[in-house]
Structures are given as structure tokens and as C-alpha cells.
Symmetry: C2
Subunit: 208 residues, 2 copies
Amino acid sequence: MRDVAASTVRRLSLYLQFLDQCEKAGTATVSSGALAERGGASPAQVRKDLSFFGSFGRRGVGYNVPRLAGRLREILGLVRRYRVVLVGAGRVGAALAAYPGFRARGFDVVAVYDADPARIGALVDGLAVRSADRVEADLAAEPADIAVIATPAEAAQGVADRLVRAGVRAFLNFAPVALAVPRGVTVSDVNMALELEALSYALHHAQP
Amino acid sequence: MRDVAASTVRRLSLYLQFLDQCEKAGTATVSSGALAERGGASPAQVRKDLSFFGSFGRRGVGYNVPRLAGRLREILGLVRRYRVVLVGAGRVGAALAAYPGFRARGFDVVAVYDADPARIGALVDGLAVRSADRVEADLAAEPADIAVIATPAEAAQGVADRLVRAGVRAFLNFAPVALAVPRGVTVSDVNMALELEALSYALHHAQP
């Protein structure tokens, strides 16, 4: 995914989150202005983003909510389900396995792994934790689309390397380390400490 | 904060998370190579990042762990405590109020607000939820540095506008909406749905 696409994809996700709410509320049409407000963009940017993927709106009428929501789900790849393996069954990993937002968006956690023998066999959201040694054999038998990395930082790169070799092409990384992956493999990082420190840095260096 | 600084700040945070571990393990010095691995950068980039804030390393010896960690905490503004207000006491807000990483990094949640009368007075991590109507009066009496926004999407911008007028200069935003804020105000977004959809988009559009 190019850098340009990443910011566009971000806005498309925000538009879709808004359209989801409109659908629940029974709203039939929305304006580019309303979409712009949610996506942090101008109405012109909204029209440009959406026309890039085909023309959806009608001047003076706005966008048909279910049709645009359906098209955005297609564009974002949300019309299929994804097989997700989770590596690291500690506090963060266990909380993630139980996160309802995964299943709601079509991401099925199919296996949970840990390297610590004390954790193997424990139940995490109904799944028995497996030994990390089994990752390659399991993925050879039943491939996964996405891996969630919730290991300690020092283990994360080694785990990612093994998963890439086993065919995983997308990572959601909660370990506080920048993962190096080959071209064609995507990493999304979630690191609350980084977000907090970006704020403290900004406050510390603010102009008075 | 400039865009360039944002990526540098991100790397400095990753270096610091590594140095925290080294301190706990009693490691006295680290190489730029080891720091580079954690920050997703080259050793040359590490030396450039750190020399920008003053010279720390000695050729052939590496970086003194406690000294560099101390300096990075200073740079990142982690040598003081921050007063944090949290708006939105629903499921996400309540979980965040109890998040131990806030306090550990010097971020003290001092008040929790909600607009729903049914929630006011309930205890969230030991704090009684206050009416959102009181935000301005409370902040005038006792200013806060950071606001965590955990409201529904449609309420977030209005809440942010009020907080900006009340003097808040940094936001950690969990609402699925792009917040518009004036220059000099910083927003960090945490939105797991966006991260997941970035992955599904990438998988959906991957070259075979």
C-alpha cells in the first residue's frame, strides 16, 4: 500500500463508520459535507476520494447510504472473512482475543499461540493456547491471513519472520518495536505509549 | 509538531522503551545497532536522531543506558506529570480510566465526565463521573494538560471545541472521527477499526 493510499484508506474507514451509524438510524442519503466532517476532509476531497473508486453521488441529492456503505465495504475488503492468528497470550493478547470488534468486522481469531509452557493449554476466549513451536505446521495445514503480534518486544521480530515465511501477509503489531517485513507485507502498529509520548513531546515543546 | 518530528518522536519512544528494558536487566551500554533494530531505523539514523538532541554515544563503547534513557525522558517531556481529563465514561472510557500505563508514564486522570445523567456519580477507577456541563468551570479552576475523548463520534468535535476553548492543548482521541483543532493543539488518534481496515484493504488489493 502506497503512502497516499494509506491516508485515503483512513478516510474511507471514517466515512464507513459514519455510514454504519446512518444505516442504523435509517438515514437514506448523506451529503459530501456530512462525510467531510467525519473524515476530517473538505467536501471536495470527499468527492475526489469517492469518484476515484467510481461515481456514487448525485448533485443536490447526496449519497445513497446503503449503496455507498456497500461499495466502501467492497473497497475496504470487508465483504469476506479473514483468518487471524494471535501470538502472545499475556494480558494484552488475552484482552485482544476477546475483543468483539474483530469478529464484528469479519476477523476470526482461529488460533492463539504462546512460547511460555505455563500458558499452553489455558483457555483464551474459548481457544486453547497452543505452543508457538506449532505455528509453521498449523499454517501449512490451514493458512491465516493476518497475525496479531502481542509478544514481548524482544520476541516480536523473530515471530514475524517465521509468520512471513509461513505465508502471513498482514500484521497488527502491539509489541513496542518497529517490525521489518518484506515488500508486499503490511503492518499496522497499535502502541498507546507512542501516542501518549507524542502528546507529552508536543506539550513539552509547545510555544508559550 | 512538524511531520518530520512526528516520525522522529516515534523512534525516540521506541528507543526509550528498549532502554527501559535494558535498565531493568541491568545492561550498562547499548550499541546504535541494537537501538536501530528496535526503532526500525539504520544505525546511522539512530546516531543522527540522537546527535540532533546532543551527543550521547562513544565510538566503540556505545550509549550509556541510564544517561541516554534520562535524556530521552527529558526530550519526550516525561520528567513531569500531566493532568488528564477523560470525557465519555462508557465501555471504552471506563477501560481507559483503569489503564495502568497512564499513571506509569506520568499521566494522572484527575476527572471523568459524561453527558448521560444515568452515568453521573458512578465510580470509574475511584473517580465519581461528573456531568459534562461542568467541564468549563472545573478547568477554569484547575486546568488540565490533556483530554482523552471517548465519546460517541457525533459528540466528539463539540466536546473537543469546548475543551480547546477551556485551554486543553493535547487530545488522545478514541472516537471514530477526525477532530479539527486549531494550530498549536495536538491530536493523537487511537482507532482499532482503522488499523484493521488498513489490513483488509491491503490484503484485498494485494498483488497475487
